[in-house]
Symmetry: C2
Subunit: 434 residues, 2 copies
């Protein structure tokens, strides 16, 4: 795709943008955002004395705020706001209602290994993995956490706190690695584990390897550098909108998060599938000591949201009665394919940038060959004289994360591919103009 003639590619970009403007207007419905200041208001629905029905005025008052033509595009975080369009489409069926007296206790099930995990959430998580076929769940323990971030720390703790030698266990990941791994690992200068950099150049013996697949930032499908060692598999992007589902993963510790499945990043809800019950128990201990469990509200909402996702694939299609049920992975794959097609055409046309080569594979879930559509673009600046791509793009009001933060090249940046349509469209326009 990178070799398509610049003129033709440029034409393709504008055609796609026009197409977006027309066919996606249905989803867009104007809930765009002032990117430099994403203040939200009025999120708690008011309710009457004894009923809690939503009223029209409970709709998001910000949904008509337009993005200014010279707005700074904040694409540094992986904020998955693209998914708002889907959940508006789903409507009231996806709403979560929590009574004042519900879920007040610390405890969800004090007989369970993970005593703060809501049993309904556990059921929905296992069901979703079965629907998608991306991970083995039978024989695995489920540990819930405040995002995959907390579980990643819990897993490092579980794998290192009983290590012999009294020295911190080195933690490594092949570069380019997720930029938050180093600062999260060394946040407290733990006596149990310590960041040790690129797994490919690490020369020591015992280590914990973080295997992110598909990889953040570059979308690569990865296996552990050292097979059979202590590893934490960060599979938060192993979902059918981002990558072909080629089989059920069955690693010792696998991390997932609702953020990257359904777009509910603010929910801060992740889970780990853990083979060894002792490791699971230590992870539970870590989550207990660091936050005394995980928000019940987040769990109740994730239960509802994941249930809606699975229902759409398990419920037989509607007959004459008509309305089709929105299906999350269909929505997100369609959107991601469009965005990647557009971005690749733009990059090819510009000549100033390059992207990792497009890959594809048979997806067991989609039952067809699909391209990889990573949640981030790992964009390399090929322009003469540009050494720092993040700085260069900042001059064009595009805020991206610089490559050195990922243990990589400063000529690369990571760009969020999951922002709202209007932000993505403006990104493409600005890249085209460079």
């Amino acid at each position: 795709m990178d070799r398509v003639l610049a003129g033709a590619a440029g034409l393709a970009v504008w055609a796609t943008l026009l197409c977006n403007a027309a066919s996606l207007a249905y989803f867009l419905r104007g809930y765009v955002v002032e990117a430099s200041r994403r203040r939200r208001r009025g999120c708690v629905a008011r309710s009457g004395e004894d009923d809690v029905a939503l009223r029209p005025e409970d709709e998001d008052p910000d949904h008509a705020v337009a993005l200014a033509p010279d707005a700074v595009l904040s694409l540094e975080l992986g904020d998955p706001t693209m998914y708002e369009a889907f959940w508006r489409e789903v409507g009231g069926r996806a709403a979560t209602v929590i009574r004042g007296w519900q879920a007040m206790s610390y405890v969800s099930d004090d007989a369970a290994l993970c005593w703060f995990l809501e049993p309904e959430l556990e059921r929905e998580v296992r069901r979703l993995h079965r629907v998608v076929g991306n991970a083995v769940v039978d024989g695995y323990h489920l540990v819930v956490g405040t995002g995959a971030t907390q579980l990643y720390q819990a897993a490092m703790y579980a794998l290192s706190s009983t290590a012999s030698g009294g020295k911190p266990v080195p933690v490594v990941s092949p570069a380019p690695y997720y930029s938050s791994y180093p600062p999260q690992t060394d946040l407290q200068l733990s006596g149990f584990y310590r960041w040790a950099g690129d797994a490919n150049t690490f020369a020591g013996g015992e280590r914990i390897e973080l295997v992110c697949s598909p990889n953040n930032p570059d979308g690569a499908v990865r296996e552990a550098v050292v097979a059979g060692g202590k590893a934490i598999h960060d599979l938060v992007y192993y979902w059918p909108q981002y990558t072909p589902i080629t089989g059920r993963a069955a690693h010792n510790i696998m991390l997932f998060t609702v953020s990257k499945i359904t777009g509910h990043a603010g929910t801060r809800l992740g889970w780990a599938l853990v083979k060894d019950p002792e490791v699971a128990r230590k992870m539970v201990y870590f989550v207990d000591r660091s936050t005394i469990g995980v928000s019940k509200e987040s769990q109740l909402r994730a239960t509802k949201i994941l249930g809606v996702v699975s229902d759409a694939y398990e419920t037989p299609p509607a007959g004459d009665s008509g309305a089709t049920v929105p299906r999350l992975f269909d929505f997100a794959r369609r959107r991601m394919e469009e965005r990647w097609r557009t971005l690749r055409a733009t990059v090819a046309a510009s000549g100033a940038f390059s992207l990792p080569e497009e890959t594809a594979g048979h997806c067991n879930f989609n039952k067809r060959t699909v391209t990889a559509c990573p949640a981030f673009a790992w964009l390399r600046c090929e322009k003469e004289g540009v050494e720092d791509c993040a700085e260069f793009l900042a001059g064009h009001k595009i805020v991206a994360r610089g490559g050195e933060q990922f243990g990589g090249d400063a000529r690369c940046v990571r760009i969020n591919m999951l922002d709202r349509d209007q932000v993505f469209d403006m990104l493409v326009q600005r890249l085209s103009a460079i």
Copy 2:
């Protein structure tokens, strides 16, 4: 009270229990619990296509499960389930409704110091402190956390991560101290801070002091052992149901949590009032790195719940139209006074136990002299030959936390005073029978 004649006191206990049974039946409504297995089900209300009204079948299906006469009473945690009765009384006005598309972003307000704090929650927190008069809020920064637990770690991090010398800063608290302080402090064997035990016997120089007031486990009102040093004020029990509000606290770092105010422990939502913006920024950094912010669902629910609490004190009393609005602090103080009266009479009658002496003071909020009614009873076993009170009580199917865990005496135990009525009543019956 401890010196009242055993016979008279015994009579008083049974009279109070009878009184409870009658006058509290209104609140009780049978939502008692199988203490050995607190599984909850069906917490997410089902909803129709485009409306999210609650239906009668969405009520808690467990509310009629009775406590078996020989049930183990789990009073080791500080689970504040006593408050469920209040929130049932409030009804639908306290329900939180969250649409599928709401609060999906990581970001609440990216221009704010605490960018993951929902602005509505900040307003309600400041309003509640003004209503109660227990803490100065003007000139303070608000940092939200996954419970006071996370904020306590964030505060230690903020106070120690820039300390000179490269050695962990000692963390101390006067015994008896909250039993979770040592394991939480040393969870990761941080290079920045390290648990150093009883503040009263600590001989070193630089230290961080944890000042819990009223104190967990014994309810004592405390000041820092070393005035003017680095201190974290854990004020989670400084609310009018537990202690007289004698003035607005104005320490450098003050921690609070909804758990101990409204009983929503499962919400995992706390906040810190922080004077120094640099300390606040470091705390925000810690929460960002450890969990990328705080559950938006918890924040939305806390916003709703705290709003209902403040409304009841700020709204003028209803006229002829009638229904009085339930008032949280009135409910909880009444309940706590009854429980403490009952427990003190029971202990006096038994002769086998003792409690810290009752204290009282003028409460600016209640506008009268009130007794201290701590959230825990710090019970001492005075029985000949009993060296380990927790073990002794376990023999009577009362699970309490042993005194050594608080840096104190094994003849003492900490007993939760905030469990449901039926559990408390059974506790009193069992203590009476010893």
